[in-house]
Point group: C2
Amino acid sequence: MLATLDLPPELTPVAEALESSLARVAQRFDAQLDSDLDAVADLIAHLAGYRGKMLRPSLVLLFAMAAGDQDLPLEGRVNDAHIAAAAVVEMVHMATLVHDDVLDEAELRRKNPTISHLRGNEAAVILGDYLIAAAYHLCSQIGDHGTSLAIARASMTVCAGELLQLSHREDFQVSAQTYFDIIDRKTGELVGLACELGARHAGADEIRCCKARQFGQLLGRAFQIQDDLLDLLGDEAVVGKTLHRDLDLGKATLPIIRCLESDNAAQRERCLSILQATAGGDADAQAPLREELDRTGAIARARADAVAYVEEAKALLDSFPDSDIRRTLDAVAGSVTSRTL
Amino acid sequence: MLATLDLPPELTPVAEALESSLARVAQRFDAQLDSDLDAVADLIAHLAGYRGKMLRPSLVLLFAMAAGDQDLPLEGRVNDAHIAAAAVVEMVHMATLVHDDVLDEAELRRKNPTISHLRGNEAAVILGDYLIAAAYHLCSQIGDHGTSLAIARASMTVCAGELLQLSHREDFQVSAQTYFDIIDRKTGELVGLACELGARHAGADEIRCCKARQFGQLLGRAFQIQDDLLDLLGDEAVVGKTLHRDLDLGKATLPIIRCLESDNAAQRERCLSILQATAGGDADAQAPLREELDRTGAIARARADAVAYVEEAKALLDSFPDSDIRRTLDAVAGSVTSRTL
């Protein structure tokens, strides 16, 4: 998380409190997955390569600090429930990454070979299931039914979003509304829950819990749009994962949707036939597609959408005390659309 | 469940109470999976073809009746926690079936095409995840952390068993001890938990809860051995699922292990080379393999093992009151090794 943030010096204490709390999360994460079976431990070891920005756990912790007793030192506002909840959301997220790599037939994730590529799809499917079970096991240890229900409900929503996306496979003419419905479920739900759990386990009232959740949902939306842009335009060496998978797999993403929206019928047909060629694996169709995206301003529009959601998210923070925590959350929000990996 | 049991007339009241309670379980199961998204509901509809013997929910309910207040009518001993727990164990089990079919590349399950075959591996992987999430969501509604922890822990154990099995893929010389370690985790754990949850939510003491769990673990063991035998010797038209998958996938099962145990070195080599040929897809090797299995008495030994575990399980029931419920549990246990599907 912190490596990708360019924080001003006055926020260093927050960054340090976040870093030491993230270390506790990582410890809890590892302890929960520990196994005396070599067959399990060997696979778990591969997960280290899946650790990335730790966005979701960071949000749990920052909202714990934002909503907690402001008289306490920063780290003192982070309790055991926060640490467990942060490990749980990361575990659920990682399970979806492991299974996504099976589905997407991806070979690279965070510059490492994916588990499905390295150890086969069977191992990856079962490892993902193991992670989900471990996440629920840890969640049940928090001792709060509301949190268990919320985590399970969010996991159902994530799956529903993925099934909705799958049902629109190779349908490039999907509406923007359906696209947002998909990404809100697939990405926004869990990011929103991470923020909410941070606030809730700090004793925040319903209004702040709700604002925290909405902040996360909007951030998740912006994050997914940026993911779409990176998959389309990114440099594999920088992004560190197999790119152009969305088009190969026939997933309509926001730049594509905006591109098709802004054309007249004849131009739309032309654009669609280019898309079908790229989805069919025709690498020569990449350049004309890029031209269409530029000509219609679709890239710029998708970027502007993402930035607008980040701004909308930031505005929700005004229900929390004006503090360095809030400024850090602002910076995290801003980083979502400026990131290149 | 009941269709495969040949119960004497005096057990009809128990069978009827079980049947009406199973109908409540089915209702709770369906309500939990209900979705307003067509993309989800369409896939859920396919699950009807996965409903089979309902062994695990039946065990929850029968142990509820065996351990509950014996002055209450049979159905009155089954409370809401039992119904939810029964639906949860069946949902977790069904998730493993859906994912197993992806892993095994199976085309048939209970005489129906598998979801992976019908709708693709991606849909099957996500649907399995959806089922697991829905199971935990329902489990969290029971409002008992112990149950949530136990279900999550058992799910982790099931996955660990599958990973252990996978790590021994194409290793026909696996020891009987490792084989039992695999099936105890993969199958025994959840069947044991089903029995325990039935007793526990009926207010049984620790001794009875423990005996119920052991009963289920032994039954699960016998069940898995019978599954192995059916995969090897069964008639696809009767069993209703793709057979001979274990050998094709290089899974050592108990008959194979017993066959290799009882030979001298030269005979073992011969047997191994036949096994490798069948694992390589050589259909002509099936007949010589069958000869080896008969000659070494391996089939008979595996069958005898399964029957012995059933008898051991039945003996554990003596800590429960002598009743028609116990006689029904005896019949259920007996059916595990006599079943042909």
